[in-house]
């Protein structure tokens, strides 16, 4: 047992290693990336031969994890909230198949959309799949709930979701570790038909899942993760979920509050505890990070009208991350006037790094498209999405991983010509390849620029499954070799790039332009490491 200073993400990773993890599967996505990165850099994980390679996307990650669970081992799959949309099919069905080795699905939500295109609340997915969900309020609980989660998963034979949010993922605090467990031995399910979801079997398994719900609720009520904390001021009862508890605690200490509290770290919702607090207080205030999931459930729960405050009646904002001040306002604690940010302070949005290859791609693309009216460039998720900002103003869409190619195809089908898709290398192998096949099958007139920086850049430079494979993949899918063109995005190649793009825009079929130059961040890191190498060997 050891004391660590851990990000929430790192606490989860070390806990999984300590709990007998045999394999972690993930695709990079802020704020979940550091979980896999921690395991990859852990000497202990290497020694224990824990599987720790990135997957092509969240769906392949989820399925691989399910396969490892089938083989009896403990496994964890990690993703950001929108990644669960990609993995939703295996995720939903894994609740029906059930598990063999413990399976933990870690999903990191991003309320306030610090680095995301929406702020969906993954607890709804947990409820949708009807599996237990754990939601820690701090780094130590994140560590402890991983241990508990694996045990719970194996006890009830279902996957368990661990839901965190950006603030906990990327906040550091002290964590005490526990005794380490050995990995499970290879052990196939006792019923070898458990994972065959033919309707006849699926119906039986689904009834089993429904029958397990009361046991999940009992675990929520009795296992000690959900607590009733008595208080003397019964005018208000607080229901605080996950991280939101900290913001209540901050105000409790600062303003000497003493309301009864139900602290929720585990779902299904512990209705007995909620009955208990409701029966002794006049009103309830629900504090939850994300959507009003608990609040919505409670509003339809009581037989008699009961006053409930939260995100739905304006006590808290309907959207965005909570913080101590927002919670103070909901608690009717008077807030002083804070000094304003001086008017001269300009916003400083993220931008391409100096020397970034994507910038050269957009400069050339803008010139090549000069002849045509605006609004024909469909882009995707990655650093190159910053092409939306000045001075480039190059792109017209960013929706979900891989959507550049398929949205461009749809617009082309509607009659827009020429159309361009701009997609990164890692995004292309994540979800772009199948869309390319659709284009090839129909010989869609489309110019696809794969802006290949040989890494997963926006999340900090993780290994890209695409590196060195893109040309062969495009050929294999059926793009004509003469319309797979490689360029090196450098200022000095600008004229050549404009010419290549113009040529392909005029072609009435599928073109792929591979603009390949290594990310300058990963290149710089590589050079630093090479320089340091001889010292290491001494």
């Amino acid at each position: 047992m050891q004391k660590y200073l851990f990000l929430g993400d790192e606490a989860i990773a070390q806990a999984a290693i300590d709990a007998g993890l045999s394999g972690i599967y993930a695709y990079p996505g802020t704020p979940s990336t550091e979980i896999m990165e921690y395991v990859q850099s852990s000497g202990e994980a290497a020694e224990k031969s824990i599987h720790r390679q990135w997957s092509a996307n969240e769906k392949t990650a989820m399925e691989s994890a399910l396969g490892m669970s089938y083989a009896g081992k403990r496994t964890m799959v990690c993703m950001k909230h929108v990644g669960l949309n990609v993995a939703a099919d295996p995720f939903m069905n894994s609740a029906i198949t059930g598990i063999n080795g413990g399976l933990l699905v870690v999903v990191a939500d991003d309320p306030s959309m610090h680095s995301s295109q929406n702020e969906q609340d993954s607890r709804y997915y947990g409820k949708f799949a009807m599996i237990p969900v754990l939601e820690p309020s701090n780094q130590q609980e994140a560590y402890d709930l991983v241990h508990y989660g694996f045990d719970l998963s194996e006890k009830h034979k279902v996957p368990v979701m661990l839901r965190i949010t950006t603030r906990l993922s990327h906040s550091r605090s002290g964590v005490q570790s526990r005794e380490k467990k050995n990995q499970n031995i290879l052990n196939l399910p006792s019923d070898l038909k458990q994972f065959i979801l033919l309707p006849a079997i699926a119906r039986v398994r689904y009834k089993g899942l429904l029958n397990s719900q009361s046991a999940f609720i009992e675990s929520s009520e009795k296992d000690g993760n959900n607590l009733f904390i008595p208080g003397s001021n019964r005018k208000l009862g607080i229901i605080a979920c996950g991280l939101a508890y900290n913001y209540y605690l901050e105000n409790k200490i600062a303003s000497d509050l003493n309301y009864p509290v139900v602290k929720i770290n585990q779902y299904p919702i512990p209705f007995e505890l909620i009955q208990k607090i409701a029966s002794t207080t006049d009103e309830l205030l629900i504090l939850e990070e994300g959507y009003p999931l608990v609040e919505e459930s409670l509003r339809g729960f009581f037989d008699q009208p009961y006053t409930i405050h939260g995100r739905l009646d304006g006590f808290l904002p309907r959207d965005g991350e909570l913080n101590p001040n927002i919670v103070a306002t909901a608690l009717k604690i008077a807030q002083p006037d804070f000094p304003n940010v001086p008017g001269i302070v300009a916003s400083r949005p993220p931008a391409f790094c100096k020397g970034c290859s994507h910038a050269d791609v957009y400069t050339s693309l803008n010139q090549a498209l000069d002849l045509y009216s605006k609004g024909r460039v469909f882009s995707d998720i990655g650093c190159y999405t910053l092409g939306a900002l000045a001075p480039f103003d190059s792109i017209n869409s960013c929706v979900d991983m891989g959507a550049s190619i398929t949205m461009a195809k749809g617009a082309s089908d509607a009659g827009l010509s020429p159309v361009v898709a701009v997609i990164g290398d890692s995004t292309f192998t994540h979800s772009g390849m199948t869309g390319l096949l659709d284009c090839v099958v129909e010989s869609t007139p489309i110019t696809i620029i794969i802006s290949d920086n040989s890494t997963t850049g926006m999340t900090g430079g993780q290994k890209s499954s695409a590196t060195g494979r893109i040309g062969e993949i495009c050929k294999g899918i059926g793009v004509l070799p003469e319309h797979i063109v490689s360029v090196i995005p450098l200022k000095k190649n600008h004229e050549e790039m404009v010419k290549v793009i113009k040529n392909e825009l005029e072609y009435n079929g599928v073109s792929v332009i591979i603009a390949e130059r290594e990310c300058i961040q990963t290149a710089a890191r590589r050079h630093r490491e090479i320089k340091v190498e001889p010292v290491k060997n001494k």
């Binding site: 002290g174 900290n246 913080n323 000094p339 400083r348 650093c383």
Partner: protein, 196 residues
């Protein structure tokens, strides 16, 4: 009760996470409780970044510092220092580098920024980039700023040295040494500023 709530401010890539790590390590020497919320991901690409660092001899509740409660804003860039003044407490200090990081076209006039900073009742301004250059390590300006702000953080100089030693340990003795020099130069510059 001892507590120190610090907002670290700067632009992605300027090394505020190294400052946070050094303070965190220094605090661990005293077995203090701490929480430190960082910004990862999209904003790291040349955008405004901030970190909330909370030290206490009691358990820390919120990962985020409430508005009006920060004891210190430590900024490695002058305009970024001003972005977080709603968090500064009435008695709090604003300690900032005066060297601008200009990567936007509408960056305000430098003198206007410094004028706004001088309006703050408790402030220290240091040209950390210049000091870092003078000691021959232009990459250490973040640690110069840590040195400058260190006298407003209730930890001993020895603890800070130990923190610097821990975070730069892997990079060898020379890097540790130059960063300790940077720290001391910043601390001295702050004292000189306050004496004026």
């Amino acid at each position: 009760m001892m507590k120190s709530d610090i907002i670290l401010a700067g632009v992605g890539g300027q090394g505020i996470l190294s400052i946070a790590a050094a303070i965190g390590m220094a605090a661990l020497e005293d077995n203090l409780f701490l929480k430190q919320a960082e910004v990862h991901g999209m904003s790291q690409r040349g955008g405004a970044v901030q970190s909330h660092l909370r030290l206490s001899n009691e358990d820390v509740a919120s990962d985020l510092i409430p508005m009006g409660k920060a004891d210190l804003i430590l900024s490695v860039e002058p305009m970024e220092a001003l972005r977080y003044v709603p968090w500064l407490s009435k008695d709090g200090w604003l300690v900032t580098n005066t060297a601008s990081f200009v990567n936007i076209s509408n960056y305000p006039d430098r003198e206007t920024i410094l004028g706004e900073i001088r309006k703050m009742p408790r402030h220290v301004t240091i040209d950390a980039d210049k000091i870092a250059e003078e000691i021959g390590s232009s990459r250490s300006s973040n640690i110069v700023m840590l040195g400058a702000a260190s006298r407003f953080i209730p930890l001993s100089v020895g603890n800070f040295h130990e923190g610097i030693r821990k975070i730069f340990g892997k990079k060898g003795e020379d890097i540790i040494k130059i960063n300790i020099i940077a720290f001391e130069a910043g601390r001295t510059a702050c004292e000189q500023y306050l004496d004026k």
